[in-house]
């Protein structure tokens, strides 16, 4: 394989690359050996500590699956609530009236500038003080509130960028046949923008899934991450094993979502029927990196 950055490799370059590969392998092997030694010194590699995940389903049914379920519930709820909210604010930012456009812009920029964790802590105290939500439900409410406030403002930007990405001729043609502004938006622009936005929305789902873990670590929300400490104390301090399994589940889940997003993008780009306007998964500044994810 060659790229524009380096020439096709001759015999000397090939020898040099083999040398680099060997050096890199040695360094990686040394690091791996050190990790292995440390782990086995502390007894973290004992089969006893890994056994619960591979034989018997107790660890899965007691700790992991309920946690994963809560993570998915919180993520799905946040997405479902944030999407319409984001659409409203995204469209409001495109309004012709300054008294709608400016406040919507201020609100969106404000919630984008604040860490999700701050919003979640605020939500938790808010529900405790001003509502009669039971203390068992409060963490879920707080997590969803924080995620909705933040992600609605990110989705608003995605919606705005999606509408702006459509060719100008669409608006002009709609006006030419006498549609009103609302009609242009609802029957011409939005339906096309939704397809253009799909990849970006799916990859925002990755950010949401990752951010639910904040609730598990700090708000006592019983999500997948929160399953780690009871699990590792029950199975005899198998911290490394528990973290590995939980991290792998997160990676697999999010990798599936990411791959789905880029598959969608490729498919929409090559489609003949659309206007060809597609927002790539990370179209809006920092979307992809913005969650704690950020």
């Amino acid at each position: 394989m060659s790229s524009v950055l380096y020439d096709a490799q001759g015999p000397r370059a090939k020898r040099r690359n083999v040398l680099y590969t060997v050096v890199f392998l040695l360094a990686a092997a040394a690091l791996g050996w050190w990790v292995f030694q440390t782990l086995s010194d502390k007894g973290q590699l004992d089969w006893e500590k890994w056994k619960p995940f591979f034989s018997g389903s107790e660890a899965w049914t007691t700790y992991i699956l309920p946690g994963l379920w809560n993570t998915l519930i919180a993520a799905a709820l946040s997405m479902v609530i944030a999407l319409p909210l984001g659409a409203v604010f995204g469209i409001a930012r495109l309004s012709d009236h300054a008294w709608i456009r400016v406040p919507a812009g201020v609100i969106v920029e404000f919630f984008r500038a604040i860490p999700v964790l701050i919003l979640m802590i605020f939500g938790l105290a808010l529900f405790a003080e001003y509502t009669n939500v039971g203390s068992d439900d409060r963490p879920l409410y707080a997590v969803v509130t924080g995620l909705v406030l933040y992600n609605a403002s990110v989705l608003a930007e995605i919606v705005r960028a999606g509408i702006l990405s459509l060719p100008k001729g669409q608006t002009e043609a709609a006006q030419a046949i006498g549609l009103r502004k609302t009609q242009t938006m609802t029957s011409i622009l939005l339906p096309q923008a939704v397809t253009a936005m799909l990849p970006a929305i799916v990859s925002q789902l990755v950010v949401i899934v990752k951010d639910t873990a904040l609730g598990g670590a700090i708000l006592t929300f019983p999500d997948l991450l929160a399953a780690v400490s009871p699990m590792s104390s029950y199975y005899g301090a198998n911290t490394i094993a528990s973290f590995t399994i939980v991290a792998l589940i997160f990676v697999l889940l999010n990798f599936a979502l990411t791959s789905f997003a880029s598959w969608l993008e490729r498919r929409l780009r090559s489609g003949k029927k659309s206007t060809g306007a597609v927002l790539p998964p990370a179209a809006v500044g920092g979307t992809e990196s913005a969650g704690t994810a950020a």
Partner: protein, 221 residues
């Protein structure tokens, strides 16, 4: 009206946030650039490592990484990064976690910057007989960095907000202080407003200043 602030080191907490941000930013810029160089380099094994690292780390919640540094690295494996006191150890672990995580995003930003450099630049450099390291460090990266000030600013702003996750392992930064204050004082809205204002003060100027810098240094094409 603001007497509830008495007895709390608000500025100190935000100073810890700033320190976390700056140290992690410096670390992840270096590690991210190295990763990006690996991903575009001629050695297949390094390319594979870079790709695997980025795809793996990007898909783990930062919270999992940060908690792992404390519960996994420190408590289970006794890796303390040379710190003696509990606060120092947690601070260093948090920086380590933030660097490991943010570097993946820095790497992707720089790689997209490398793609904006016209092909002719690298071809001309190769025609002069420069090798891969020279092409990258003398010709491509200097132009790429000018193009990625904008994307890197977004990563930096996200990093500023992400430092709050360090509260999960007890680093005394802004979010932890906010949690403590809300539990002790009956001023929920005011306290939240103060902390929200603090973060707006940190992130908004960063965006504005670096946005201006980005326009200033961008290569006209």
């Amino acid at each position: 009206m603001f007497d509830f602030l008495e007895g709390y080191d608000l500025l100190g907490a935000f100073w810890v946030t700033v320190q976390l941000t700056l140290l992690s930013a410096a670390g992840s810029l270096v590690w991210g650039t190295v990763l990006a160089a690996m991903r575009v380099g001629p050695v297949p094994l390094m390319r594979g490592f870079g790709t695997a690292y980025v795809n793996f780390v990007r898909n783990i919640p930062l919270t999992v990484i940060i908690l792992f540094t404390s519960l996994g690295l420190f408590q289970a494996l006794s890796i303390s990064l040379g710190g003696q006191r509990f606060e120092t150890i947690n601070f260093r672990l948090a920086v380590l976690g933030l660097v490991a995580y943010t570097a993946a995003f820095v790497c992707e930003a720089i790689r997209s910057g490398i793609n904006t450099v016209p092909v002719g630049q690298a071809e001309a450099a190769r025609a002069l007989g420069l090798n891969f390291t020279q092409v990258l460090t003398l010709v491509v990266l200097p132009q790429a960095f000018r193009a990625v000030v904008g994307p890197l600013t977004n990563v930096l702003i996200a990093l500023t907000k992400n430092t709050t996750v360090a509260a999960a392992i007890g680093v005394a930064e802004a979010a932890l202080l906010m949690k403590e204050m809300i539990e002790n004082e009956a001023q929920l809205l005011l306290i939240s407003a103060v902390f929200a204002f603090g973060f707006v003060c940190l992130t908004l100027p960063t965006g504005l200043i670096l946005g201006w810098v980005g326009k200033k240094v961008a290569v006209k094409r």
